[in-house]
């Protein structure tokens, strides 16, 4: 067997492994989506009250029997539960998320309108959190004992701060007292500052804590020692070698970070009166808007699945010790 044949064989094998890996991820993803759809379908029906009321203006409405019956028929709520359930799964599988009870427009339209707004917020917050965590990790590792203690304290405090408290304090200081930034968020640069900081700060605390630990560990490791022996400066070692290590847990935590950002968005979008997925989810839950709750939850679950897969790939790219997918 020639050398080239062996090489092809090996790459074929790794291609097959990649496909299997992808299929496994895909299967897992579909399972997660099914589980979310099922949990919501049955979960929301356990809250007392009639979904038909939600359509007619919320619980406690004094809708007439005729109006309730008409709404039930229109939304298929008069069908047996299993028919509704499988009908719902089938519609979801074919990409039909139904019509929002409260907004009376297709859920896909609602999502299409709201996703960019929440995405801008989440991505900016994630980038800012990453930047703050890295800068803090690098600076504190460089400056040694006191710097580390200070940074560590800062990280713990910011990681522990609840979003609603932070948001309120930021509004009081920067909108009410100083008048620099608007308390109501828009998609202008000024309108994004406060909500992005609110979301980013606690996340930066978490990421920074983990990154700095890894970085300090890397600084003490054999490869750092050998780099120093080669005459690499301390900054060089930090930036060229340890930083890559510190990035790893950050990447691995991205899926978790996304979850934290989305749950944070519920609070932040409500406080800063910003249209978005989080705020809609809150009002959808309050008004028992089943199609919209399902839509937002499925979208979050799907993006979680995708981010986890992407962070798996990224981890493999950054760290050659993990076999390539």
């Amino acid at each position: 067997m020639s050398a080239s044949a062996a090489a092809t064989n090996r790459s074929h094998g790794s291609f097959g492994a990649s496909v299997r890996w992808l299929l496994r991820k895909l299967g897992g993803g579909i399972f997660v989506l099914w589980a979310v759809a099922t949990a919501i379908f049955f979960g929301i029906r356990m809250i007392p009250g009639d979904p038909a009321e939600a359509i007619l203006g919320g619980p406690g409405s004094q809708a007439s029997p005729e109006a309730l019956a008409a709404a039930r028929a229109q939304y298929g709520l008069d069908l047996p539960l299993h028919v509704q359930y499988f009908g719902q799964l089938w519609r979801l599988a074919t990409g039909n998320m139904g019509t929002s009870y409260s907004l009376k427009i297709p859920v896909t339209d609602v999502l299409r309108e709201l996703v960019p707004s929440t995405l801008i917020l989440a991505v900016l917050a994630l980038l800012l959190a990453w930047a703050m965590a890295l800068v803090l990790a690098v600076l504190s590792t460089r400056s040694g004992g006191l710097g580390t203690a200070l940074a560590s304290g800062l990280e713990i405090v910011s990681a522990a701060v609840p979003h609603f408290w932070l948001a309120s304090v930021l509004i009081m200081v920067f909108s009410t007292a100083l008048g620099w930034l608007p308390p109501v968020s828009t998609n202008t640069p000024a309108g994004l500052v406060l909500p992005v900081i609110t979301l980013a700060l606690p996340l930066a605390g978490f990421l920074g804590q983990v990154m700095r630990d890894t970085m300090e560990e890397a600084q003490r490791s054999a490869f750092a020692l050998s780099a120093r022996a080669r005459g690499e400066s301390e900054t060089g070692v930090l930036l060229r070698h340890s930083l890559r290590h510190a990035a790893l847990p950050g990447i691995a935590l991205s899926g978790w970070a996304l979850g934290s950002l989305l749950s944070g968005a519920v609070v932040v979008e409500s406080i800063f009166a910003r249209p978005g997925l989080g705020r809609s989810l809150l009002s959808a839950v309050t008004t028992r808007d089943i199609p919209l709750v399902t839509g937002v939850a499925l979208l979050s679950a799907a993006s979680y699945v995708v981010i986890m897969a992407l962070s798996d790939i990224a981890e493999r790219l950054v760290d050659p010790r993990i076999s390539a997918p």
Partner: protein, 554 residues
Amino acid sequence: MTLAHPLANRLVPAATVLAAALVLASCSPAATSSDTSTDAGTPVTGGTLVYASGDAEPTCLDPHVGGNYPQALVASQYLETLYTKDADGKLIPWLAEDSTVSDDGLTRTVKIRDGIKFTDGTALDAAAVKTNFEHLLNPETASSTGYLALGKIDSMDAVDATTLELKLKTPDNSLLESFSMPWVAIESPTALKRTQAENCASPVGTGPFKVESWKKQDSVNLVRNADYVLPVSTAAHAGTAYLDAITWRFIPEAATRYAALQAGEVQVIDNAQPDAIAAAGKVSTIKHLDAPRPGASNRIELNSSKAPFNDAKVREAFIHAVNVKASIDSLFFGTAPQSFSALSSVEPLAYSEESLFGYDAAKAGKLLDAAGWSNRDSEGYRVKDGTRLSLTFPVSTSQSIPAEQSLFEQMQATAKESGIEIKINLLDLSSWYGDLAKNDYDLVSAPYTKVGPSVLSVLFSSASTIPAPSGYFANHSQVKDPALDALLETAGSTKDEAERKDLYTQVQKKVLEGYYVLPLYDQQNHFLYSDKLKNVGATTAVATPTFFDTWLAN
């Protein structure tokens, strides 16, 4: 009728308090008191008013559909009603010219004003009003508020262009009051022919503004109706509105709403909380509009259908065992005067009986001893036949503002001193209605907005203990008293205004003296606005502000 209150502050009651504290601290020392009502200066035409609502965004801008208070607030800008209330609270014809009723009370003739057009060019006439009533009564419209107001109409006929004749099933002397509510506002019959989705997005009325666009989850944009005709000259000026436009925004958080007002991003906020009102009192550039809602007062209803409140002595004891006055004074910063009536103070027929409601622990103790609740258990609560004197109190976090929830907690503490246990359950609206439907409550506080004393019939007649198909019923005290029913019946049908007043007074006496309710205060409805806005204060019959006379100073 039952109205979803702001979802507002569920997230951050603590932050709000903190916000208020810092806001108070950051007030400029030069600030002086506000609330001067004289609006000096010459009105300026133009400008856009930005209104920030704390309520959930309506799902439909046509208040015929569903029918809640947030819809009434925004619809009051572009829809008008057949009747309304003037500045003195007197019922006056608006889109109607006048109205007469037959001697037997079964035929109501309504004259419709001539020369008024909807903003789509359609003329207002009797047939248009008839179309509106049919729209409200059609189950497909899914009206849950307006259709109740028209419940006694049997048939209707547009006799000529300006005459509408209504045949009633039974006499109803509250019909004109019902006509003054935005849930029964009159819309263009041409526009009503569109699909419900279209009509929900841009209902067409006769008001001083019209709906230009609605960006869901963001804002409703209203622009001046350039062809507006003022039906009756009760306003400060004639012609069209001064403002070019109104942007109607939704800012659910009370603290953000107030911050946006301070920052000048918005000029009016609703659902102003007691702490913000108190803080605003020290800011010269912010003014306050206090517009209590009509109908029932905010009150705690005592469930008389089961033990322990099936015993009138225990109800009376409970009312004396809680110190409501002290709590209201401290928690509401003087923004909510205590009520001693089942009706709102804006109702002309409201009857108050202050002497019944006072904190008197000694009296409560004597009453409870006499009622057989003299023994105490190890925790200090009273017991009778092995059962603790325990009261279940489901509280809706979306209907009771944080200050009200704190009031209930303080009541819990004072009641304990008299040996009464109060179990407060904080619930979302669905679960709260669920507990009421299961009769799993002894105490409950539920708002009810309606124009006129006929709300008493909704709240205290035996018929109102029978649940609607949705499980809802309004008589939470579960008063079932044939004598009271008879009084309500006659009070609601008599043509004699003096007799009506006398009968409704008797009704209220029976309810208060039977200790079925503990009145707290009027249904709170506070607005804060920038002093750049002049001539704010006009409201509809349901206390929603209107901005026809309002102008924005440069």
